[in-house]
Subunit: 333 residues, 2 copies
DNA sequence: TTGTAGGCGTTATCAG
DNA sequence: CTGATAACGCCTACAA
């Protein structure tokens, strides 16, 4: 249906090969013919079929991106980073979601390894290390984002979640808090676990005792934070500060605190993690640990392109640092 | 590199054609051979190449989606609706952004019309009607979201922005407000224009006079709302309520009001438009007009599939209704 | 019921 | 410098 390379060849009175040469600007074509062909291509509004090109073994100019869920702002930010970087290379994104279903994860990976894309960025949580390592046999570059694997043979990009927990807790400690609660995410969350470890380590490094009472489990949602705080409030010895493993929960804690008549930050300091948009408009604005999420997408994409173009990436594991965003939800004791 | 149809054929002692038949479960293959082939495909973990299949004229199982910007929450929601619907059909998304650059828009459309995808959903703002109508010649289904065209020959999905403006204004009027300001988006925004028209119409229908003084231009951003409100404050006869053409600006107006010592909603009622996440956590929670953005993506995708599968969509123009979300930023006078 | 052969649009190889 | 020609993996008449 659309105009093909043969149409151009015919119009220019040459063969397809010659046209192909000028498309990929390879030598072996006289300047005269080259210009003529270029002109005709313009006139006929010709665009090489990426599909055919892909079949013939060349680049598809597409990157596969596998995320669990596009409703989650976290992944949206990753997508943003990937998209913008891919754009620089004139690549387009092939996006799919798994909804954190193991079979879907495998299905999507299989889909992408059939030559439909030139590289894959994956955020999967159920594929085991064996499966991932075996992906290398399929000869298509891939990078993992936010994965739990520490294997040295694969490329991964992560945020330093331990450091995030450490920083948040340390901030509270510096403000003089001694009874600091931790509200975690769901059991299954590795990120939450690492932040928790950072929290413990910070307590320990500053000579504060760790108490299980002060640790609550949430679900990364606002309501979970709300409930968790209510639980905390039933304690004899209440916390003066709380570190929530993400901002959504921190905001839930904020409303819970208000609902029981506490003032933030006068009566309670709160720090979150993520730096979502809502955190800056909430009252009081929420102090938080900002993660370079978009940057993760960017770095992963850069690695993919190095792999595609056969350059050797500097490192296999990149771990990005977080930063403290001080707003008004924390106060010195 | 990966296992191909020939590999399967060889292993099963049949020809590629036979394998192809069972892949597309067509008749003409004995149940016995079919089972045998199926089994071998499983064993060898075979997946037909979508690329080759696309070239041969079959479905690519991909939808092209063109948006201006993935940093904008509005488009993210559209993507979400599209993605989820496409998923039901086992389609994958080919996403690209134009950053609202005219050449990019054209480039992406051209890209997608070369057979790389089975259908296109586009949110472009610079391609003229002629160009769009001509797309039909390329024989690939497409649907426009949030477009300004009223042409009856193309498929479009929109939100009723006029109604949004009307509803917001009417809400304020019902609360007894008579001096209602309007803070619009950038000049180029058609959505903002339509909401403005709704605003005017509501005033008129309720016998209120329209005054140019009460209309300010913003930029759809928080800062723009902030500045716009400061301008409004310089008026002799100040407004008692303001309708912002989007929530970001409404939030800016909220801070501006606070900064000049006004209480919301006691001294000033504010209503926004969009219902972004921040609107529910801001203090006081913002009343707004909720748009079914995700629904737009969903509807557009459904139309695309009807087109792909040669069913006739019920209508060419679908216009979705908005709804009022009452929170605490508006008060009866 | 199965196999043969040609085509989809492009690239690559190898002569001329 | 240019032109045939054979892949690439799959689909679909048509023939056996």
């Amino acid at each position: 249906m659309p105009v093909t390379i043969s149409d151009i060849a015919k119009a220019a009175n040459v063969t397809k090969a010659t046209v192909s040469y000028v498309i990929n600007n390879k030598p072996g074509v006289s300047e005269e013919t080259r210009q003529k062909i270029l002109k005709i291509m313009k006139e006929m509004n010709y665009h090489p079929s990426t599909v055919a090109r892909g079949l013939a073994g060349k680049s598809t100019e597409m990157l596969g991106l596998i995320i669990p869920d596009i409703s989650d702002h976290f992944y949206v930010q990753v997508v943003r980073g990937v998209e913008e970087t891919a754009n620089l290379y004139n690549f387009t994104l092939n996006l799919c979601t798994t909804h954190a279903l193991p079979e879907k994860e495998r299905e999507m990976v299989d889909l992408f390894t059939t030559g439909r894309v030139d590289g894959i960025i994956l955020m999967t949580y159920f594929l085991d290390l064996d499966y991932i390592v075996n992906l290398k046999k399929r000869k298509i570059p891939f990078v993992l984002i936010d994965s739990t694997f520490e294997d040295k043979s694969i490329y991964t990009v992560n945020v330093d979640n331990f450091e995030a927990g450490y920083k948040a807790t340390e901030h509270l400690i510096r403000l003089g808090h001694k009874r600091i609660a931790f509200v975690g995410g769901p059991q299954s969350s590795n990120d939450s676990l690492l932040r928790f470890r950072g929290y413990r380590q910070a307590l320990q490094d500053h000579g504060l005792s760790y108490s299980e009472d002060l640790v609550c489990q949430g679900d990364f949602k606002r309501e979970g934070g709300y409930q968790a705080f209510l639980t905390l409030q039933r304690l004899q010895n209440k916390p003066t500060a709380v570190f929530a493993a993400n901002d959504q929960m921190a905001i839930g804690i904020l409303s819970a605190a208000r609902s029981v008549g506490l003032q933030v930050p006068q009566d309670l300091s709160i720090i979150g993690c993520d730096d979502i948009e809502a955190s800056s408009v909430v009252e009081p604005p929420l102090s938080t640990i900002k993660q370079p999420i978009e940057e993760m997408g960017k770095r992963a994409t850069e690695i993919i392109f190095q792999l595609i173009y056969k350059e050797k990436p500097a490192q296999r594991r990149v771990v990005l640092k977080t930063s403290l965003v001080e707003r008004s939800s924390c106060q010195a004791l």
